[in-house]
């Protein structure tokens, strides 16, 4: 039987970046084919080529034997290719039912839709509430809607791009089971992930990408776990930092950090922080937390449970409707960001491109944008001093850039993040450091560097709040882990307590402590 999807010598270049290079891939009908790789290995690009969101530069694709080159998603969909996007493709303003109607280019009649959805519910055990507005749905349910939306089209090939990145453990299990069931109906499934555990639970075959090239491919039975790790990162599992290995799901969680015996004096206090929403329940529903000097507190949780908004409220990007945020006894609840910075609040934001740095400006300018006063001479900027200061920071933090004058957009994501971290850690005094998803999208070397710096900040006496969706990261980094659930913080869970992982997983789904 001919393969469901066959790629030969596929290449794709974005600007100067070679995203994919001579990639071969063969996916058979009835199997779950895992595409593995680190961040930046080209997994998402591969999906976008197959789904028609991007056009390939060279090579060829065949779908069930026929030459296949979609110029737009509409074409891919017509030919029976559907895709579950990492950040979903649902319109939040519309209801679930309306979003599902879009799947058929809005040609389906609502009564027919109800019937079709019911059939899918029964076949795959996916329940969706057609009348609910998408904006108010938890992430897990949104994903169910996204999958139902794909299945409505009765696809021959289903692509899932990092579908588990935003889910809690129980939801991941359910999703993998759904993948299997879809494959059992004779469809081909491509599951993109960087978690080895998921591959072993759901996959039949795997293709490993590294730096845009195929590092290895074949039936899963032919690979050991160590081998997959080696193909993915180019290093032996034994040589890998235990934290990173755990991040890949390659090993059990590494030894958790032992909570510090001597917690310092209280630095920051959050009392009853509340943020209302125009549509739906409060986004923050009375957040209370105390952070002590030298302590690292983690916030886990399925995305969309208020953790992003909590960081926004603390950094001054959003204004809380109720409650108090104090730093060293000073009320900063409604203070301007500059006042917060002066009070010793450092923020490593979740979205570094939009909130963390100015990509069009140089490394030096980005490092000192908030402290230009220190570099003023005769009313003008002392560029020489700025460059010298930046050169010191570049060396100290191991930032790989062509120099202090290099525009930030010429740096890799990991090095951009190092610039943001260097800037925030240079605050004097640094009393409270907030790090939101500090390692997201970074390669392995940069993850290590960033986490070391965060630990350093705590060692020097700052209180640290880390918001992350990587559970392994939180368990090794933090003294205690809180879990965000529907705008409240549950917990704490001590990372060294037996079964801490399961406990956090339960709290992520809202189970009472």
């Amino acid at each position: 039987m001919e393969p469901a999807l066959e790629l030969t010598g596929v290449g794709k270049t974005f600007g100067e970046v070679r995203a994919l290079d001579a990639v071969d891939l063969t996916v058979r009908a009835g199997e779950v084919h895992c595409v593995l790789g680190e961040n930046g290995a080209g997994k998402s690009t591969l999906c976008n080529l197959v789904f028609g969101s991007a056009a390939l530069d060279e090579g060829e694709m065949r779908l069930y034997g026929a030459p296949y080159r979609p110029r737009r998603p509409a074409e891919a969909l017509r030919l029976g290719v559907a895709m579950v996007h990492q950040h979903f493709s649902l319109v939040p303003e519309l209801t679930v039912g309306e979003n599902l109607l879009l799947a058929e280019r809005a040609r389906l009649r609502p009564p027919d839709l109800t019937g079709r959805v019911k059939a899918i519910e029964e076949e795959y055990g996916l329940a969706v509430d057609l009348a609910a507005p998408v904006a108010g749905l938890p992430v897990g349910e949104r994903q169910s809607v996204e999958i139902v939306k794909c299945l409505l089209r009765d696809p021959r090939l289903l692509l899932l791009d990092e579908p588990t990145a935003v889910l809690g453990p129980a939801e991941v299990r359910a999703l993998l089971a759904t993948c299997r069931r879809v494959a059992e109906t004779g469809r081909a499934v491509v599951l993109v992930t960087h978690k080895l555990g998921e591959v072993e639970r759901a996959g039949d075959a795997a293709t490993v990408l590294r730096g845009g090239k195929v590092a290895g491919s074949g039936p899963l039975a032919g690979f050991s776990r160590d081998e997959l790790v080696r193909l993915m990162v180019g290093r032996e599992l034994a040589d890998l930092d235990p934290l990173l290995a755990a991040g890949l799901d390659a090993t059990e969680a590494p030894a958790p950090r032992t909570p510090r015996e001597t917690a310092g004096e209280p630095v920051a206090r959050l009392r009853g922080l509340r943020l209302r929403s125009d549509h739906g329940p409060d986004v923050l529903d009375g957040v209370d937390l105390e952070l002590r000097a030298g302590e690292i507190v983690g916030v886990a949780g399925v995305e969309g449970n208020g953790q992003s908004e909590l960081v926004a409220v603390l950094s001054g990007a959003l204004s809380a409707d109720e409650g108090v945020f104090e730093l060293d006894g000073v009320d900063l609840t409604r203070a301007a960001p500059a006042v917060r910075t002066a009070a010793g609040l450092g923020v490593i934001p979740e979205d570094r491109h939009h909130e963390g740095c100015v990509t069009g400006m140089s490394v030096a300018e980005n490092l000192f944008l908030g402290r230009l006063r220190e570099f003023r001479r005769f009313g003008l900027l002392d560029r020489k001093a700025m460059r010298a200061g930046a050169a010191r920071a570049v060396a100290e933090h191991g930032i790989r850039a062509s120099g202090p004058d290099a525009p930030l957009h010429t740096l890799s994501g990991g090095n951009q993040q190092k610039v943001v971290v260097a800037r925030e850690l240079a605050l004097d005094p640094l009393r409270l450091l907030i790090a939101a998803q500090p390692t997201r999208g970074l390669d392995i070397g940069a993850v290590d560097a960033v986490l070391t710096r965060v630990r350093d900040a705590a060692a020097r006496g700052a209180a640290v709040l880390v918001v992350s969706s990587e559970l392994a990261e939180l368990l090794t980094l933090c003294d205690r882990v809180m879990v965000a659930y529907r705008g409240r913080l549950l917990g704490p869970v001590a990372p060294d307590a037996p079964g801490a992982r399961d406990e956090i997983g339960k709290l992520m789904l809202g189970a009472a402590t």
């Binding site: 969101s53 319109v91 879009l102 040609r107």
Partner: protein
């Protein structure tokens, strides 16, 4: 005619172009394209309509000319704002300046012997127009006027959220990328929506020139196109509130003529200003809680990101 009847009569007459223009603009904005050029297209339509009617002696031929001119102007706007992804506000305002200059100059060249043109005469609907006060105001319009109102209602119903059309347009305006991934033809729909604005704006302009004043004067629209855009904002991108806002703006415009009959004696300048002032108040009061389509004025390109 009582002062009140006069006010309603003038209000309806002035509201009709606003209604049809804002109905088209509402569809376009819900699809994510803001056309500041409604004003310019209206003016172009009015000019082309007047020229056509004057040349041929037929109001219908004039209307046809207005529609062709409106479609051409809208096609230019669509190429700029959809295909070339230029800034929608800047191109719209530039188009308005161009239309004002071109029509003013053109009128000077063309209408050398008087500016009155043949137009559409009112047709009183039997029975309905006999209703006191509102009867003559509502049911004594021209064929063009009835047509405009009919098209407005048709658009409001056709592009509501209950139809597949309306749903697709809403999705494209809210999140073009998602709509694209759902297989909807984003830029084709947006292009079509701007062409629709060409038709509705040209109809509005033609109504002013051919059914209302029966002439073309410099800057005949005098900001009515902007009022139509303001009505969409004041109506918070919903059909019926937008149409209500148009009716309100129409009455506000009529008030400047009817005010003396009500015994209100204000300087003319204040009266002329009042509808725009009211528009500013209405829009600024509502804009804080507005529900603009999330993708409004944001052009769509599939492969913008790496």
């Amino acid at each position: 005619m009582s002062a009140f009847a006069e006010l309603v009569d003038g209000g309806v007459r002035l509201a009709i172009p606003l209604l049809v223009a804002s109905a088209g603009e509402l569809v376009s904005e819900r699809a994510g394209v803001l056309n500041m050029s409604v004003e310019g297209i209206m003016l172009t339509g009015a000019f082309a309509g007047a020229v056509g009617a004057h040349t041929t002696g037929s109001a219908s031929a004039g209307l046809l000319c207005a529609l062709v001119a409106g479609l051409l102007a809208a096609a230019l706007q669509a190429v700029l704002s959809v295909t070339l992804r230029a800034d929608q506000i800047v191109t719209g305002v530039a188009a308005n300046a161009l239309a004002l200059g071109a029509t003013t100059y053109g009128a000077r060249l063309y209408f050398t012997e008087g500016r009155t043109v043949p137009g559409f005469d009112p047709v009183a609907l039997p029975l309905l127009s006999d209703i006191p006060v509102i009867g003559p105001a509502l049911f004594d319009q021209s064929v063009l006027g009835y047509g405009c109102v009919l098209l407005t209602v048709l658009l409001a119903v056709l592009f509501g959220r209950r139809t597949g059309f309306g749903l697709a347009v809403t999705a494209i305006g809210a999140d073009a990328e998602t709509a694209d991934r759902s297989g909807l033809p984003v830029n084709a729909v947006r292009f079509g929506a701007v062409l629709l604005v060409g038709v509705t704006s040209a109809l509005a302009g033609a109504h002013l020139a051919l059914a209302d004043v029966h002439a073309f004067t410099d800057n005949l629209t005098a900001g009515a196109g902007y009022l139509a855009v303001a009505a969409v904002i004041a109506g918070r991108w919903r059909a019926w509130p937008t149409l209500a806002a148009c009716a309100f703006f129409g009455l506000a415009q009529a008030l400047q003529f009817a005010a003396p009959a009500f015994g209100i004696h204000l300087p003319t300048a204040v009266l002329v200003m009042s509808p725009y002032l009211l528009a500013v108040v209405a829009v600024s009061g509502l804009v804080g809680a507005s529900r603009a389509p999330a993708g409004l004025t944001r052009p769509f390109a599939r492969e913008a990101r790496a």
